[in-house]
């Protein structure tokens, strides 16, 4: 029903489809690295499986399936090239929004451990709502802000002040 709107894989165009092979490529790189690291561990010693026994079996399977996945994705990307349209502007806007929220979350972690949970939570919620909500922002902040603050104080009380120290 709403697949074209909600499924980014369907929404992207041929040039972006080729980019889809990047993720299976990363998976293959992770799998091969894992396998190579497994070979440095003891596979079998003293008539019993060593620390590297299970990881090496896993690594070989992981690499084999990752390679199969990459080949399958490349073949799929090639067959899709003749059909479909270029990426819509909406998809790019959403990707940018996603990146901005990830950056805000990163800032939240930094503040979490430098300025404290309470200040970090307030600043993050205000910034996130200002970014995500386009109208009646003050009202939206007033709606959103009390909930995480109550949760933070509640959990702080339950954990005997593990979050906030006065």
């Amino acid at each position: 029903m709403a697949a074209p709107e909600t499924d980014p894989v369907r929404r992207i165009g041929p040039s972006r489809r080729r980019l889809r092979a990047i993720f299976p490529g990363v998976v293959l790189a992770v799998a091969v690295t894992y396998t190579l690291l497994s070979t440095t561990l003891v596979f079998w010693a003293d008539d019993q499986p060593g620390a590297g026994f299970f990881p090496l079996i896993l690594g070989v399977l992981f690499s084999a399936f990752a390679l199969a996945g990459l080949v399958k994705e490349l073949l799929r990307a090639r067959s899709d090239q003749s059909a479909g349209q270029e990426a819509s502007g909406t998809a790019r806007v959403h990707a940018r929004d996603c990146a901005v929220l990830a950056a805000l979350a990163l800032g939240y972690i930094v503040l979490f451990f430098t300025a404290g949970v309470l200040i970090a939570t307030i600043l993050f919620c205000v910034a996130a709502v200002m970014f995500l909500v386009s109208e009646r922002r003050i009202r939206s902040i007033l709606i959103v802000l009390p909930i995480p603050i109550v949760i933070v104080f509640g959990l702080n009380a339950l954990t005997n002040g593990a979050l906030i120290s006065f």
Binding site: L41, W44, Q48, V93, H94, I109
Partner: protein, 516 residues
Amino acid sequence: MSNLLHGFSDVLTWANLGYLAIGVMVGMMIGLIPGLGSIAGMVLLFPLAFTLDPLPAIAMLAAVYYGAMYGGSVSAILINMPGHDNAVASSFDGYPMAARGRAGQALVIHAVTSFLGGTLGLVLLCLLAPIGSRLAGSLGPPEFFMLVILALALMTGIVGDDKIKGLLSALFGFAIATVGIDLVTGQSRFTFGNPLLLGGIDMVPVTVGLFAIGEVLYSIYTGQHRKGPEAAAALPKLTFRPSREEVESSRFATLRGTLIGFALGAMPGAGATVASLSAYSIEKSVSKRPERFGKGAVEGLAAPEAAHNAATSGAMMPLLSLGIPGSAATAVLLSAFLVVGLQPGPLLMRENPEFAWGVIASMYLGNVVLLIICIAGIPLLARVVRVHFKYIGPIVVVIATVGAYLSHTSVADVLIMYVFGVIGFFMRVNGYSPALTVIAMVLGPLAESAIRQSLLISSGSLLIFVERPFSLIVVIVVLAILVLQLIMPALRRRRHRTSDDGPAGPAEQPIVMSAN
């Protein structure tokens, strides 16, 4: 029966009921928060529990355990964010039901099937405890390893058409589980010299990252935050009474889910997550219209709900009768037993029957309390689905961060959570399954220790997996499942081709989703 009645008489005091209510409420609330599962809830109540007598203390902690099962499913259904991995399967069809304006019905079905699953599981616990504990005690490493393979074989049925991506998701989870010190040889693995990784990568930050942060990023990527208020307003008026068809559809699914959940819950290591995913997978495979699954099929919600609540009852069987924890949560419960001065095992049932049966009786009462809370709270809970994503998103990020931090009060856990949040986002975008990664992380250590012990026993011979009767049966079942998975798509294609030539049968009729 007299033992159980005696247990009821012990637990039915105002003080005990009060502590039971505290446990149930804390479990329910903790379950609602993604990442803070039953273990965190039990740990939070430890200081209170250790000031109490054994019966109210254990009854309260057990109530957190099964109360979290109820709560975790509520967030899975309403905002597609399972409170814990046990509730992952409930989101597959629960969330599509809620998204189509049937949140009220989904929550009623969740409450009733959870209650039935939990209560019928307790009946089975009372009836089968002696027999089941004898069977569970006879299982060795080869059987455990084959049970893990069986669980994985069943789970490949839930990952959709791309089995390679499903397998890769699971292998990734297994790989994460191997990080840290090898407990047999003491050799460190994949730690890169970082002492923070010596203890392995904890489940809580990974689960919270993959499901909470990954979900928020994915929702923004798919433009949920840009949908105007008309999208929320378009939801029809909430109704809570399931249709007669939905009740009939969920009847046998609940029964099957209960039996599967109890059986898998009683097997140490399998647990509620495997139970709910297996129940979902089996329900889909026995359905005459499996194409409805993932789109709001009521059986797809009823079966895992009944299963993971029955699994909590099943998990109490090896704990009470053998002293073996069936899951991480029951392991925490076992440590609470020891702290209050009781040793779970065969002697517990013999020497402290009033305590053991009191705990079982308290679970009956706890399920009734949870049913009442769930039904009474539906109008409030169902409104969560109407809250716009741009308000929920920041709140989820805050709760996930605080939850990950509180699991061990560790900065590293928060960082790990965000790393896995990004991984989860890319997995979702590229069609991989974060759920299978989490499940494989749970099963990984069990699988590794089981295969290593098996090969140690057999001096390296793989024949050990077919030489033992129970293990051989599981091997045959696994092979049958794999063969079925290979031939079923071909059979379906053939059936579709046949139906294209003639009039459409019931299986090919278009699915009309109710707006209510």
